[in-house]
């Protein structure tokens, strides 16, 4: 069934009202810099790539209510046109690899709950490092060794990694500045 564009905003509104309370339960984290220590819901990584030893990553840091994407996109026709998004996702401003890259280079057009690699293979969001690793080989290699990005847990045992997107917003990947903690007290001010 084909939906006219005038129906779409109404459709979105309805979806929001109906779907939001449900998917909000599955909420994630808006802050891309928060390196979540939530270990209750870790995913086992490395399942698709024999290069990568098993390890654990926290869930993807989605903003509240956005996932599953199919909640809206199942009913929508993918629009492969590069354009300014006006009806939704207006907050996403793509500043990554210049004008060469567009949404559907990473997101999968037909099943929006997945990402796709260059060879067409579909991957879950919890394995988004495979996507990033295609273009950032050195960082990816270092990351697997625990040297780019961070790991917590046991230095001689079970480790929890962070996804690339826990630190880098995939749409504007430069690490965001932070407020520093207070400087030390100067010696002359110590009583």
């Amino acid at each position: 069934m084909r939906r006219g564009s005038a129906v779409l905003p109404i459709f979105i509104l309805i979806t929001w009202i109906l779907v939001l309370p449900v998917i909000a339960l599955d909420s994630g984290n808006t802050d891309h810099q928060d390196t979540s220590n939530n270990t209750d819901t870790v995913y086992k990584g490395g399942s698709q790539n024999p290069d990568i030893p098993d390890f654990f990553v926290p869930p993807p840091p989605f903003s509240e209510g956005i996932f599953p994407c199919s909640g809206c996109h199942k009913e929508m026709k993918p629009n492969k046109q590069r354009r300014k998004l006006e009806m939704f996702h207006q907050d996403i401003e793509l500043k990554h690899a210049g004008p060469q890259q567009w949404c559907l280079d990473c997101h999968n057009a037909d099943d929006r709950d997945k990402l796709h690699l260059i060879d067409g293979r579909l991957i879950d969001f919890k394995e988004s490092y495979l996507l990033c690793g295609q273009c950032h080989g050195t960082n990816f290699r270092d990351w697997k060794a625990g040297v780019h990005g961070k790991r917590t847990g046991e230095w001689n045992g079970k480790k929890l990694y962070r996804l690339c997107v826990h630190c880098h917003n995939p749409h504007q990947p430069r690490f965001k500045p932070l407020a520093p903690k207070p400087p030390p007290v100067r010696p002359e001010d110590i009583k």
Binding site: V147, H148, W155, P177, L178, P180
Partner: protein, 308 residues
């Protein structure tokens, strides 16, 4: 063991003003037959042997005594362990200067984990700021009080400095009471009950990594980390020296140090130098690492590098 540790009665860590009185008492008491009783008494502390000369059982008695004392003082259950080094482990640390943004999260995570005094303030980690292109590694003339609204600042880079856990530690040689030594896993530790506060070790340390308690450390009881190690983060006394121990209470239990875990940019790396699969070995083998003041032959086990 060839080298016998001197049994130095100056190693007592108690009210220094009562020192003369104390040593007089000690002399008097030494004439009496001593009964071994685990009791937080003045004499037990006074006659505590050097840590490395104590038997397992003697250590346990000491730990029990301190657990009792600290638990009473802070009004909550404090555990004091003396977990020994894991055989076949030599700890090493890596710090990626191309990632560090100088946010000081590590400084305060360390204070909380390791029970540093809040006021007067003691920080085991100091983050230095340098301008790009500046003659750096000139630690003495660096800026550690920077305080912009956001970090990183353009054209600057940051270098956190803490105890470098030297293989050849000048501080250990400077200590007149053998209150500080290097453990088999490479961690340089201090026994606060043997430290007499002479601060020779501080003068000997080329990295400014040792800190002195000018008065009784002040830690709000609700902020005290009750998981402590005798040679690490147990509460300290007035008049003793302290420093980073690679979070001995965590790392000997298999955990990463607190500064590694808190670092938002993942600049801090830690592991076993003797394990070829460890992340620290990966850094040493794949990155151009350097150590601070290498010319002093201190052989730090703290490696700095630029990943990019």
């Amino acid at each position: 063991m060839s080298k016998k540790i001197r049994n130095n009665p100056l190693g007592i860590k108690l009210n220094r003003r009562n020192f003369i009185k104390g040593s007089a008492m000690g002399l008097a008491a030494s004439a009496l037959p001593l009964t071994k009783k685990a009791d937080a008494s003045f004499l037990d502390v006074f006659f505590q042997k050097h840590f490395r000369e104590m038997s397992k059982q003697e250590i346990q008695e000491v730990l029990d005594r301190f657990e009792k004392t600290y638990s009473e003082e802070y009004g909550k259950k404090v555990s004091v362990k003396a977990t020994p080094a894991i055989p076949g482990v030599l700890f090493g640390y890596g710090l990626d200067l191309s990632r560090c943004i100088g946010c000081r999260r590590c400084v305060y995570a360390c204070v909380g984990e390791n029970n540093q005094s809040r006021d007067p303030q003691i920080h085991w980690i100091t983050v230095l700021r340098f301008k790009n292109g500046e003659k750096w590694v000139d630690l003495e003339n660096s800026e550690s009080y920077y305080n912009p609204a956001e970090v990183p600042e353009p054209d600057h880079f940051y270098m956190p400095v803490q105890c470098q856990q030297c293989e050849n530690p000048p501080c250990v040689r400077a200590c007149p009471t053998q209150a500080t030594w290097k453990e088999p896993d490479g961690i340089v530790v201090v026994d606060y009950n043997w430290c007499i506060g002479c601060r020779y070790c501080m003068a000997a340390c080329p990295y400014g990594a040792r800190h002195f308690n000018w008065s009784k450390p002040n830690i709000p009881p609700d902020e005290l980390n009750p998981e402590t190690h005798y040679l690490g983060n147990r509460p300290r006394y007035n008049g003793v020296v302290e420093k980073c121990t690679f979070c001995i209470q965590r790392t000997r239990a298999g955990k990463y140090p607190a500064c590694v875990e808190v670092c938002p940019v993942g600049a801090r790396k830690f592991g076993n130098l003797l394990d070829p699969a460890s992340e620290i070995r990966y850094c040493i083998e794949n990155k151009r690492v350097f150590r601070l003041k290498e010319d002093l032959n201190t052989y730090p086990k703290f490696y700095y590098f630029f990943a990019t």
